[in-house]
């Protein structure tokens, strides 16, 4: 296959207009010794039918789980048919970043509506039009906090997703910032007394997550108060954004930035990506946050319209003085999220409640098994951590029966002495949960 429409005759005509003899002449600027004499060493080209078959075979080498008990940053939710229908419209998926506003009003309005939905869910005044994922959204918020305050120390909850902590660590290293961890206690929540000790006048931001990596819901308010008491900012993450259907908005509890992974809003798990970084903030950071922002305005005739705005924050205008280097982001994932939220509407509350009920059901059922008990006492959303006799063996038994098992906590939290993190969303049926529990007996 190839996708070049030219016939040999047309190529000749075009070369004649250009005034060269053959295609090779167009590459005369490349020193001859660097031009490939032959072809690259790649597998032979395939027809469309062969590609379909080949990719089908590759996909079939994967094994689809019967049910998923894993969350830990990626969540299995139902996606309404409307979502894929809308994002499958090629006017959206084959368009570029809306630099030409007059022929991009569709996506610009959709972004403006998304920004509005996210500010309402998170209790903030500004939301950008997507980051790469939850981890980089948190890292960018950390870097921005440090730059805004001229401080160089970051305090990260140890109950924050381990991969998010690592990404924050990488960005911090690159910028020369120090990163320290805030310990958690028996509830699974961060220790406020320890945070008070750790805070100093060099601390730029306190980074937390609620629900946190153990599924436990943190009380953001006191953490925000503590951070603010030393002039630091509070960056509040979340695991699964469907939890915002019932949980108090982090912005209303004093968070300066609300960041996290938006995949749950209408995007498939896709083996880890593409996902959708959510980043929202108070009005104070409107002119500093990274990424795209859409603003409402009017056209020459006074009609309402939308444009990319405050672009002086962005790399193509400010270059090395930009607040971030983000260019391509995750716009189509953002569109999916907007459509998802429009579909769910106020039913997001019911969906979130269903997640809580399922997780609590599974948690109770597992707690009744000999040697099994919850690791923490704090309230949970749709994930919870258990201590059990042998996490590895438990997962092997579940996997043998076709489940994707729990997340083994031992590699990231040796201090827990073994442990396993389970997730139950609305996709997990009671009979699957009962089956899983009976397998673990």
């Amino acid at each position: 296959m190839d996708y070049v429409p030219h016939t040999p005759g047309e190529q000749k005509e075009m070369l004649k207009v250009i005034g060269v003899g053959d295609l090779e002449d167009l590459f005369a600027d490349i020193p001859a010794k660097y031009r490939l004499g032959g072809l690259l060493n790649l597998p032979p080209p395939l027809s469309e039918q062969e590609i379909w078959e080949h990719m089908g075979r590759l996909a079939a080498r994967n094994r689809l789980p019967g049910a998923t008990l894993t969350g830990a940053g990626a969540y299995h939710h139902y996606i309404p048919a409307v979502v894929s229908h809308v994002v499958g419209r090629s006017e959206f998926y084959t368009a570029y970043t809306p630099y030409q506003a007059e022929i991009s009003q569709g996506i610009l309005q959709a972004i403006y509506e998304y920004q509005t939905m996210i500010t309402r869910l998170t209790g903030t005044q500004v939301a950008n039009a997507s980051m790469y994922d939850g981890a980089t959204a948190m890292a960018e918020a950390a870097v921005l906090s440090a730059k805004s305050l001229g401080r160089s120390r970051l305090l990260v909850g140890r109950s924050v997703h381990p991969e998010y902590r690592k990404v924050v660590g990488t960005y911090a290293w690159a910028n020369g910032y120090a990163c320290e961890e805030i310990p958690f206690g028996a509830t699974g929540r961060l220790e406020q007394a320890a945070l008070r000790e750790l805070l100093d006048d060099k601390t730029a931001a306190v980074l937390v997550q609620s629900p946190n990596f153990f599924g436990v819901i943190e009380d953001i308010g006191p953490l925000a108060d503590l951070a603010h008491s030393r002039g630091a900012l509070l960056v509040a993450g979340f695991t699964d954004p469907t939890s915002l259907g019932i949980l108090k908005a982090p912005g209303d509890s004093g968070a300066d930035f609300v960041v996290g992974e938006g995949q749950s809003f209408g995007n498939p798990m896709n083996y880890g990506g593409p996902y959708l970084g959510i980043l929202a903030s108070t009005e104070a950071f409107m002119r500093k946050i990274p990424g795209r922002l859409v603003g409402a305005t009017v056209d020459r005739e006074g009609r309402r319209g939308y444009v990319l705005t405050l672009q002086t924050r962005e790399q193509h205008i400010r270059r090395e003085k930009a607040t971030s280097n983000i260019c391509s982001n995750e716009a189509l994932c953002m569109l999916a999220a907007a459509v998802y939220l429009a579909c769910l509407g106020k039913n997001l509350k019911r969906l979130a409640a269903l997640n809580v009920w399922k997780a609590n059901y599974l948690k109770e059922a597992l707690s009744a098994l000999p040697g099994w008990r919850p690791l923490f006492t704090g309230p949970v959303y749709n994930e919870f951590a258990m201590s059990c006799p042998d996490a590895g063996a438990a997962n092997r038994r579940l996997e043998k029966a076709g489940f994707t098992g729990g997340y083994d906590l031992s590699k990231d939290y040796p201090e827990l002495g073994g442990g396993i993190l389970f997730c139950a969303t609305e996709m997990l049926r009671r009979e699957d949960m009962d089956k899983a529990v009976s397998l673990l007996k």
């Binding site: 190839d2 190529q11 020193p31 689809l64 009003q105 910028n175 996902y275 930009a322 579909c343 809580v356």
Partner: protein, 483 residues
């Protein structure tokens, strides 16, 4: 058009939620009332309202499937539909990133093979697929540079960037704590070798070069440039945003580059989705492989697995493994066209750009009169001088002719720049029609400049007030209803 919030009617609903098959305990009891929210202010609509709302929005949007998109440096080529179809296979989309390795051998094989193909195409030793976009790849590449010197115990504070570079280059460098020093371009649009020699000291970590550069020109002195950078112990970084001009013809690794990021969504054909998701793999020469981000796919016998056992790695730059679904499309594309197809991409991308350059010469002034690569850069200075028509007016007038305008006012060193990238997937007829439109606009600019300055006339809205948007930012709809 009405906002989705304005269409909302209390009590309407689209997405319903299944009945609970487990006990429904009060949330106040399970979670505690102080942690719960009072109101949830999301729009309430029926399914038909939502479908019509977004379908109408889509009709106010211009994609490659709607028409020609000659947006320079963005490589907006046609993307094969089979790629979308294979990327939508359940076997790819339904897998959890922490699914056991035994469940995901197909995915791991795909990632392993894709990294191998990209290494072959670029002449590099290995690739990471983790970065989520081109600029994220740049950031990763600069982190690798930082790590390289950290390991050597050298403090180097500056990275050199030509004045023609994409804005992401200096921004990425600054995000890694390096200073930027700008290298001038010479009269022929290439790196000014004398200036480079002057700037390239032992305090400089390297040079970030886009090749072909954003003027659409190949850096003819690349051999000397690489020599100057390497002799002072620096690294040569290639911004691969313009790889569409080179694939199958020459390899950046052979040209002396140590690091490259590719924009899979450009050259390797993934639709841009209104600005993403993309994917920005980073390739490196052998001496930099230990610094690539973790985890990496390794192969033992016939089995693939993830490994974090690379002690000198810069760490993680993203959660999980990157934009996997974009990689599926790139993989399918490479397997579709093969080595000969790869060469045809470059040959015809370059043919198309030079054809446009020749057809429009005489109507618009060329920024640099040389054989171009996959894009050509004109300047609207003649139109501005003769009739007061700005490049932005020309771009807006093109909207009336049914085209997405080229990139304008970039690169920054060309005044009133018009940067056209036709890509290899456009036919001669399309190019001819586009050139006719550009020639008509040049005539209109002479004969009826007010017409051009008042464009666009046919779009759903006319020129929008950017200044008002920035002065009085209205970034979310605050009218409360239904609360």
């Amino acid at each position: 058009m009405e906002l989705i919030f304005e269409k909302s009617r209390p009590g309407r609903a689209a997405g319903t939620v299944p009945a609970s098959d487990v006990p429904e305990t009060a949330l106040e009891r399970l979670i505690g009332p102080e942690l719960l929210r009072d109101t949830l202010n999301l729009p309430e609509l029926a399914e038909v309202d939502i479908v019509r709302h977004y379908t109408r929005l889509s009709r106010r949007n211009f994609g490659v499937d709607v028409g020609f998109y000659p947006l320079g440096s963005c490589t907006m080529k046609y993307n094969p539909k089979i790629n979308e179809r294979v990327a939508g296979l359940d076997g790819f989309t339904a897998l959890h990133p922490y699914a056991p390795e035994a469940f995901v051998q197909g995915n791991l094989q795909l990632l392993y093979e894709l990294a191998g193909y990209l290494s072959e195409i670029c002449g590099m030793a290995d690739f990471t697929l983790q970065p989520a976009a081109g600029a994220h790849g740049e950031l990763t590449g600069v982190m690798i540079i930082k790590k390289h010197f950290e390991r050597k115990g050298q403090r180097r504070s500056t990275i050199l960037i030509p004045d023609t570079a994409h804005g992401t280059n200096p921004a990425s460098v600054a995000l890694c704590g390096f200073q930027v020093a700008t290298v001038r371009s010479d009269a022929e649009g290439g790196v000014d070798v004398g200036h480079l020699r002057e700037l390239m000291t032992k305090d400089v970590a390297g040079l970030m070069l886009t090749n072909p550069n954003t003027l659409g020109l190949f850096e003819r002195n690349i051999e000397e440039v690489a020599h100057i950078v390497h002799r002072k112990g620096g690294l040569l970084y290639c911004d691969g945003a313009n790889a569409n001009a080179l694939v199958g013809v020459t390899r950046p690794g052979d040209l002396g580059f140590d690091i490259i990021q590719l924009n899979l969504h450009k050259t390797f054909s993934t639709p841009h989705g209104c600005g993403g998701p993309g994917s920005g793999p980073v390739g490196v020469k052998r001496h930099l492989v230990p610094f690539l981000p973790v985890p990496r796919v390794v192969k033992r016998g016939r089995r693939y697995r993830w490994s974090e056992d690379f002690p000198h790695s810069i760490g993680r730059v993203r959660s999980f493994y990157g934009n996997f679904n974009v990689m599926v499309k790139a993989y399918a594309y490479i397997r579709s066209i093969g080595a000969a197809g790869m060469r045809r991409v470059s040959e015809n991308a370059v043919l198309n750009a030079n054809y446009i350059k020749e057809r429009l010469r005489g109507h618009y002034q060329l920024a640099y009169d040389r054989t171009c690569m996959h894009e050509c850069v004109f300047t609207g200075e003649k139109q501005l001088r003769e009739s007061g028509v700005h490049t932005t007016d020309i771009a807006k007038r093109l909207l009336d002719y049914g085209y997405h305008p080229p990139t304008i006012y970039f690169p920054l060193i060309v005044r009133e720049a018009i940067m056209i990238e036709p890509t290899e997937t456009e036919s001669k007829e399309t190019l001819d029609e586009f050139c006719e439109a550009m020639i008509s606009i040049a005539r209109e600019a002479r004969e009826n400049p007010d017409l051009v300055r008042s464009a666009p006339l046919t779009t759903p809205v006319r020129r929008l007030d950017d200044v008002l948007a920035a002065r009085k930012p209205d970034v979310c709809w605050t009218v409360c209803q239904g609360e």
